[in-house]
């Protein structure tokens, strides 16, 4: 395209290259520039490695915290007992009424299981557990009620509470009790952790943005002379900035890989300590590593940070460099 000489064809158009070939060349060209930028990183190893390490480690912290939160959520999920609903049956209810209620509850889709603890069973358990064994035998009759232990399908506190409300309306149910406090507390803690991770991630990621942007700025300044020459022979800003954007891209790819490796290593290192804790609670808890989606998102996020950080710098500084003249 020539602004001044309308008849003067130039570049690819002058060569009469077919549209398909130009389309292919576009990718070949970008691929080449991507490789060239990778080579450029290789030529300035110190600055590149420092930036990649900072990017990688800054991403490691949120990534690891995310994995911990994910695992904590899994633990809280395994404590489904917390959402058990205890239905205390009226003394007046007959064994038949209790049986029919169990049948009804078993048929309910919101309930995964129902366990019946009869008065007698409850008394035995209480005698064993409380240590009042001898004293209790002085009681003339059994003061404990029949209890139905209902396990809801949805252990989410609000859902469990709704179910409890519904069940307490049953005629033979004296009252229903849900051990919610503990579950809500755990969920609140996990929620707090999640928000903390989010806030820390946000802070770190914006720091990363500035670090990448600054590295690219230094790189632009060190190539000032070259950029001036390119502008003098007719390079557009878009042409000049492309290699720098690719540099940011590589920062992202390599930093993301580093973050992945370090957070996996951290998790592996913590595995021993975590399994000791979970053994104490006799849970068959398996620590979960990063899955493919999480891996891809961390790489994608890192690349995004690299490219955006680079773009912030490139936009301002390449425009600002103007050749001083012949």
């Amino acid at each position: 395209m020539s602004v001044l000489f309308s008849g003067r064809a130039s570049g690819a158009k002058a060569n009469r290259i077919s549209a398909l070939r130009r389309f292919l060349m576009f990718f070949v060209h970008h691929f080449r520039q991507a490789l060239a930028s990778l080579g450029e990183l290789w030529r300035t190893p110190t600055a590149s490695v420092l930036t990649i390490v900072v990017l990688g480690l800054s991403l490691t912290l949120p990534a690891t915290l995310h994995l911990l939160v994910k695992n904590a959520q899994q633990i809280s999920g395994s404590f489904a007992k917390a959402a058990e609903i205890n239905l205390f049956i009226r003394d007046t209810a007959s064994a038949q009424q209790i049986q029919s209620l169990i049948t009804i509850l078993n048929a309910d889709k919101q309930i995964s299981s129902v366990r019946h603890i009869s008065k007698e069973q409850a008394m035995l358990e209480f005698q064993e557990a409380s240590g009042f064994g001898a004293a209790l035998s002085y009681l003339t009759d059994n003061p404990l009620p029949d209890v139905l232990v209902v396990q809801p399908v949805n252990t989410d506190p609000s859902a469990a509470r709704a179910l409890m409300q519904q069940l307490s309306n049953e005629r033979i149910v004296e009252f229903a009790k849900l051990d919610l406090e503990w579950l809500t507390r755990l969920e609140a803690i996990v929620g707090l952790l999640q928000q903390a991770v989010f806030a820390i991630a946000l802070l770190l990621l914006s720091a990363v943005l500035f670090i990448v942007s600054n590295t690219i700025r230094l790189s632009i300044i060190s190539k000032r002379e070259e950029i001036e020459v390119m502008k003098l022979v007719g390079a557009t800003d878009a042409f000049i900035q492309r290699p720098f954007l690719y540099t940011g891209f590589w920062f992202g790819v390599l930093g993301g890989l580093l973050a992945f490796l370090v957070s996996e290593a951290l998790l592996w290192w913590l595995r021993g300590a975590i399994s000791k804790i979970t053994d104490l609670y006799q849970s068959d808890f398996q620590i979960q590593a990063m899955n493919l989606t999480e891996f891809l998102s961390i790489i994608l996020l890192a690349v995004l940070l690299g490219v955006v950080g680079s773009y912030l710098s490139v936009r301002r500084h390449i425009r600002a460099i103007e050749p001083a003249g012949p």
Binding site: V3, A12, M230, V233, G234, T236, G325, P326
Partner: protein, 227 residues
């Protein structure tokens, strides 16, 4: 081809570099631009290559007023004007071939067509055998010729040269001027800024003379009139 129409340029701070300059250069014409340093030679070249914009007046290339062009169009103007710099302005960590290929790469040339053109340009300045060298291993005259090859590789209709023979001995200067004449003969308009009056006297081309921002002579220099 190139036209200055009442062009003045005042730099920030009030220094008047050019004062109501008028001249035209026809297509395929070769013209010298001379004057003492500070007379405004560089400013004229800067206005043509859109490094600076005029304070008043119009600079026209091919009847298009440069002041009407947007910032984003500046690179495209520079592709139509080959510029040769006094200090060469080569990319020192790239080979001669890469330096000459740069304008073509910018325009989107690739592969064989690019190689063909680069070789043709290097051949014209006699540096085909040095294409794999780095510029710093070349002499001053050779670097200057690399700069010329880069300026002409995309066949611009207008060629500007700023002191192209600045630090060269007379023999080399003559060689370089012959290269310019060769381009001029194939229809390229050439504007050479120089203070080498001996060179101007020998070559006998139209000469624009500047003094303190004013045009004091347009035509053959008086001292070179035939006896």
């Amino acid at each position: 081809m190139l036209q200055f129409d009442q062009v003045s340029k005042t730099y920030p701070g009030g220094f008047v570099a050019l004062e109501r300059i008028n001249f035209r250069i026809a297509k395929g014409e070769m013209v010298f631009l001379t004057g003492h340093s500070g007379a405004g030679k560089s400013t004229i070249l800067k206005l043509i290559s859109m490094i600076e914009r005029p304070s008043t007046g119009r600079v026209m290339i091919n009847n298009i007023d440069l002041s009407r062009l947007k910032r984003s169009q500046v690179p495209y103007v520079r592709r139509d004007v080959g510029i040769i710099f006094q200090n060469h302005r080569l990319l020192m960590n790239h080979t001669v071939f890469d330096n000459v290929a740069l304008p073509l790469v910018i325009e989107g040339f690739t592969g064989k067509e690019m190689v063909k053109r680069v070789h043709a340009a290097l051949d014209k300045v006699g540096l085909l055998d040095k294409q794999r060298c780095l510029p710093e291993t070349l002499s001053g005259g050779e670097q200057q010729r690399v700069g010329i090859a880069r300026a002409v590789v995309n066949k611009p209709p207008l060629l500007l040269a700023d002191e192209p023979t600045g630090n060269l001995d007379p023999e080399l200067s003559r060689d370089i001027m012959q290269v310019f004449e060769a381009f001029n003969q194939v229809g390229v308009s050439v504007l050479v800024a120089t203070h080498d009056l001996g060179l101007i006297a020998r070559m006998r081309y139209r000469t624009l003379t500047l003094k303190q921002g004013k045009m004091i002579n347009d035509g053959l220099m008086p001292l070179q009139e035939p006896v």
